[in-house]
Amino acid sequence: MNNRLVISIASGKGGTGKTLVATSLAHALRGRMPVTLLDCDVEEPNDHIYMHARLLRTEPVTISVPFVDESRCINCGMCHDVCAFNAIAVLGSAVLVFKELCHGCGACSRFCPVGAITEVPHEIGVVEEGDADGIRFVDGVLTIGQPMAPPIIRHVKQYTGTDGVTIIDASPGTSCPVVQAVKGSDVCILVTEPTPFGLNDLRLAVETMRELGLPHGAIINRAGVGDAHTEEYCREEGIPVLMTIPLDERIARSYSRGVPLLDALPEYGERFLDLYQRIKELVA
């Protein structure tokens, strides 16, 4: 079968088990079809811990920020007026550029009446491509202090496979970086934990999925740790629970030691293959 399937993994609440699911699913499918794993949690990527990939290349990611030639500037303030992000301030004496607010849209240089603004590349992070024993593994790393993740996420997503399965590990929450990571995928799996905090954030994540029109299902991780409200919510809202992982100290132990789940508890290989089947049925 040459169709490609792009599965994104999100959550709402952090620490629910997205990376556990993303890396385990990749390991379960390895060798059965082309597998690509993209770690799009670029502020704190951690899939690499479980993938042990051989690094093939590192590529810098840049955005274009304005450079003002003050000798040509006439202090008209047009650049400030067209900037939707207040990234450029024009005072009688000087023009100040706030790189961390700049979204690289190019409006300032486009509208400067005297052509005083050129766009120069500003490095905000890197993308790393590696091979994890047959799994194509790519992650993005946002440079510490840089506020904008989406440009790096967009770059990582360019490595989405053209066949087989691509798994995208997103960051927690429901804001820009998550939307950027899950947008365009065929299905999004929401990993949650059956606790009040988990449920609160799951609701927000579901709302986001509905807003994006993205097919979605849930995985309840650490079942047994909390209450039955999450299951009830999924039932009432018609959200298929594709897998339930019980609260199990063995999983916590091996995960905390950087041991892939399928190495520590091989019986999970079968369970993740089942998950894959259920995901395919959901998308069909």
């Binding site: 400030h80 939707a84 207040n86 301030a89 024009v90 005072l91 100040l96 607010l101």
Partner: protein, 131 residues
Amino acid sequence: MKVAVSSTGPTLDSLVDPRFGRCALFALVDPATMAFESLENSGVESAHGAGIATAQMIAGKGVEAVLTGNCGPNAYQVLEAARVKVVTGVTGTVGDAVQAYAAGLLKPTSHANVASHHGMSDAQGRGIGAE
């Protein structure tokens, strides 16, 4: 020369607003005469960079100083470039603040006194006063 005071209301008896970038109003006051004008803060509508937008607006008003509670790093940078003095930690009414300034009791600061986004949610302090 006039001073601009971040304000919660339109009169000299209104309390100083602890935020610079996202206050609703500014009071432009001449400390010598206490002649006074209320100005809406256009910067408050910014989704991003409110401090910068507000600072640019104030810089265009020809004031010698800003009296406010807290001023973040971006706003401070713009005001400094515009050679406008910044006094943080200001509390009480607008009128009292201007009189204290005129009496030389309020000293300008040399740097931002809070981190960016301080006045929005999750702020540790109450946003009033500074050490």
